[in-house]
Amino acid sequence: MQNRLTVVVVEEDRDRAIGIVDALKESGDCEVFLIAHHSALARKIAAHAPDIVLIDIDNPTRDMMEELTLASGPLDRPVAMFVSGAAGGLAQAAIEAGVSAYVVDGLAPERVKPVMDTAIARFSMVRRMRQELAETRRALEERKVIDRAKGLLMKAKGIDEDAAYALLRKTAMDQGRKVADVAEALVTAAGLLG
């Protein structure tokens, strides 16, 4: 029987980290460790002697992982980013999902696959949620700017709210721009003039 795989997950956000760790544990035969803080990252990783290290692709501390690709590094076992060879398709999926994996040299692709499948699914979900949150925030911001622009127009031209919005929309359509962009330009201009 082969030994259980040791997986280290590097993730600062506590809730996200718990989700990933739990999913990996459920998926089967691996031991999972979490590193939440990037201080002395390479040393902490080396202490676990992991087979696989997973880290968010957008995490700037990813560059610290690059040290582990050198055989003279603290692991004394070279790792490669999980990119090429037999599992090439998986690598592309991983990149799209926003997870980068560092795998110890010589580990068979079929042993990596279950872990990666789980990680990809989990990171995709996290990424989708983050995008949705960002979009909601942006929509909220746009709403606020449009409200301020409407207020400025109502005051300056003595018109009501509906008329103010209609004016914004017409201007946006005439100029081929978004209502929010026109509103923002108006608010900025008013700020400069006021």
Binding site: A42, P60, T61, D63, M64, T69, L70, A80, I95
Partner: protein, 389 residues
């Protein structure tokens, strides 16, 4: 000419200026291209984006394509350095505890003498000094190693750790590192946060260090000659604009914007003007050519520069791969091919003795008016690309 949009990745640093300015000041537009500039969160991400085809070109640490040519690092792909984006521009700095000790010794912080700085550091330190650098394959690491090997400090005096530049100040504060070598504006950020002082500019170690390159995938560079040429020329025009003193203020303003560096223009201006503030004590030093983008064949990818990098890397990592083969990633051939249509003055040779130029020197070139600037190593050594030590 049909306008083409090229996705291009960069790291938010002052030396990403040639790409940012090419887009912002219309030099890309002149070549009928638009640069879709994507800020990368880390050097490894940037490399992966380029390797996997998410972007077509990138602002990259000059040793990265060479290291990949030697089989080093977490990704295998063949990258080409089609031009040099910047020469010099790094700083070596130290945290407060070391700064205080150096002051107590009466060290003058001249920001120039590499040997004196090493000796001062040697007597101020007990045990190994831990240096933070942005990436394991970087000019930062090469300059640091070269410096300690050839001074009072000695090769075993330091330990090098990777710390992403925006976290350098934090790592100093936490005591994870004692000192650092980083690209601007991150050294100045450390100074302004009162966490340390600048010791040396990169050019005090090597005056002609190729810092960042414009990199593409090798296959793209070879199969898209038209786009490569347009990109290369747009960036060249941009760097020419950047080299004019009257462009400096506008350049600092553009770089400081939220979507690029998102830091005060004053901080960015220090690297562009070479007027560096060294510490919270307010010492100011003028360092000419602190960071160079243009002129004196600055953007020419000298094969000999790549060989220097390749030989250093091969030795440091005990590699048997042929360094001269890896050095071919610096594509002086493509540079010549695409730049002949401009008024760039191209050097006659693609290799030079690195470190041999001590005064501005006229060399053979296509237009006959090329002067190369000093490229001295601090110890006066000369690297002969045909007979590396």
């Amino acid at each position: 000419m049909r306008r083409v949009t090229l996705p291009v990745a960069y790291m938010p640093l002052v030396d990403a200026a040639p790409l940012i300015i090419a887009q912002e000041m219309g030099f890309a537009e002149d070549e009928a291209i638009a640069l879709d500039l994507i800020a990368a969160p880390s050097w490894s991400s940037l490399r992966d984006m380029l390797g996997f085809g998410r972007v077509d070109a990138a602002h990259m640490l000059s040793p990265v394509p060479v290291a990949m040519g030697l089989g080093l690092g977490g990704m295998t792909a063949s990258l080409a350095a089609i031009s040099v984006l910047s020469v010099n521009g790094n700083v070596i700095g130290i945290g407060r505890p070391l700064e205080d000790k150096l002051r107590a010794q009466g060290y003058g912080f001249d920001f120039a003498d590499a040997r004196a700085a090493a000796s001062a550091l040697k007597s101020a330190s007990s045990g190994k000094l831990v240096f933070g650098v942005p990436f394991p394959f970087s000019m930062h690491v090469e300059l640091l190693r070269y410096w300690v090997e050839r001074t009072a400090l000695g090769a075993d005096s330091i330990e090098i750790r990777t710390v992403p530049p925006p976290l350098m100040a934090e790592a100093l504060e936490a005591g994870d590192i004692d000192a650092f070598c980083v690209g601007e504006p991150w050294g100045s950020v450390v100074v302004d946060r009162g966490l340390g002082a600048l010791l040396l500019p990169g050019k005090a170690i090597w005056q002609g260090a190729p810092e960042k390159v414009l990199a593409t995938r090798t296959d793209w560079a070879e199969t898209e000659p038209d786009l490569v040429g347009r990109l290369m020329r747009a960036v060249w025009q941009s760097s020419r604009w950047l080299a004019k003193p009257e462009s400096r203020i506008a350049a600092a303003e553009i770089l400081s914007r939220q979507r690029y560096l998102d830091l005060p223009a004053e901080l960015i201006d220090r690297a562009l003007s070479g007027r560096m503030i060294l510490s919270g004590h307010g010492e100011q030093r003028q360092c000419d050519d602190f960071l160079r983008f243009h002129g004196a064949a600055a953007s020419f990818p000298w094969r000999s520069q790549a060989k220097w990098i390749a030989h250093r890397l091969a030795r440091a990592h005990g590699l048997s791969a042929d360094p001269d083969t890896a050095a071919r990633v610096f594509r002086s051939d493509l540079y010549r091919q695409h730049m002949t249509q401009t008024d760039a003055d191209l050097p006659g040779a693609s290799e030079k003795l690195e470190g041999a130029i001590h005064h501005p020197t006229a060399v053979g070139s296509t237009r006959g008016r090329l002067n190369l600037l000093p490229d001295r190593f601090f110890d006066g050594a000369v690297f002969d690309p045909d007979a590396p030590e």
